[in-house]
Symmetry: C2
Subunit: 141 residues, 2 copies
DNA sequence: TGCATCTTTAGAAATATTCTAAACTACTTG
DNA sequence: CAAGTAGTTTAGAATATTTCTAAAGATGCA
């Protein structure tokens, strides 16, 4: 019974969701998916996710966390956000949205893009097509 | 009359410009400044800049390149652009502008922001103020 | 010139991520 | 459901980028 209506994910059947994404639902991947996709949207780094999953007593190596994050991203389950040099964030919100980045404490916040318009962007370089437009609003405390 | 109106720098007196920025015009910093600020705007990484300056026969260590890039950025002479995980780009264009990032070959292109409008961004998180709005248009070949 | 301060440097260290090859596990087939 | 195989996980090594350290060197002021 879904307690969290604002949850990122209606179905808690993580094994099935992994299978649909073309990934074998191993113990590690299911544990990672549970932490990532249960409850509201979130932002993690490889390190922070590793720490969280280890706390659930399921053995996972850091290498597996990196593997899984890359696979989840490639499968469209996560979005990678690059805002700070030397570290990648992964966002469980894969819908259209943009980010506030609090530079003073390396904190990331989503905001919906449906009200945002970006106008006046010139034509992309010859031979290329736009894959995404990111708006990053950098703020400080 | 200046032939290169689009040039990044009117004056080629790099020592003086460093002094104005509060930096001692050492041999290494002047050599780096020459490569960076002579001619049109450009994008470099620490590695690429190191390779270029070494080619001018002036001895510079990679550590000094990192130091100088950080100092130039802090002094407002450069802008750091974070678009790809694991590497920083530095942009000699410090005016208002945004970027195309060609993901397929890690290439960065500026475009002026004076025609660009970003509307509908919500209020920033409480207690913060906006330091900059970056628009990154990601494209692929 | 003399000297205090700032800068550079090589190499070590820190940080983040990927790779390797061996052990392990999920899924399929018989 | 035993066995095979193909995909996964893992520890540890390797790679990549950036920063740190402490010693040597350069700069600019008196």
């Amino acid at each position: 019974m879904a307690l969290h209506m604002s949850s990122a994910n209606p179905s808690p059947d993580f094994a099935e969701r992994l299978r649909e994404a073309g990934l074998r639902p191993t113990r590690q991947r299911v544990a990672l998916a549970r932490v990532l996709f249960e409850g509201d949207h979130r932002h993690v780094t490889a390190e922070s996710l590793h720490a969280e999953v280890k706390a659930t007593k399921i053995p996972v190596s850091l290498a597996t966390v990196y593997n899984a994050l890359n696979q989840f991203r490639d499968a469209g389950l996560l979005r990678e956000v690059v805002v700070a040099p030397g570290r990648s964030y992964f966002d469980t919100n894969i819908g259209h949205h943009h980010h506030f980045f609090v530079e003073t404490d390396n904190e990331l916040h989503d905001f919906p893009s449906h009200d945002v318009t970006v106008e006046g962007v010139p034509a992309p370089p010859a031979g290329t097509q736009v894959s995404r437009v990111d708006v990053i609003v950098r703020v400080r405390r």
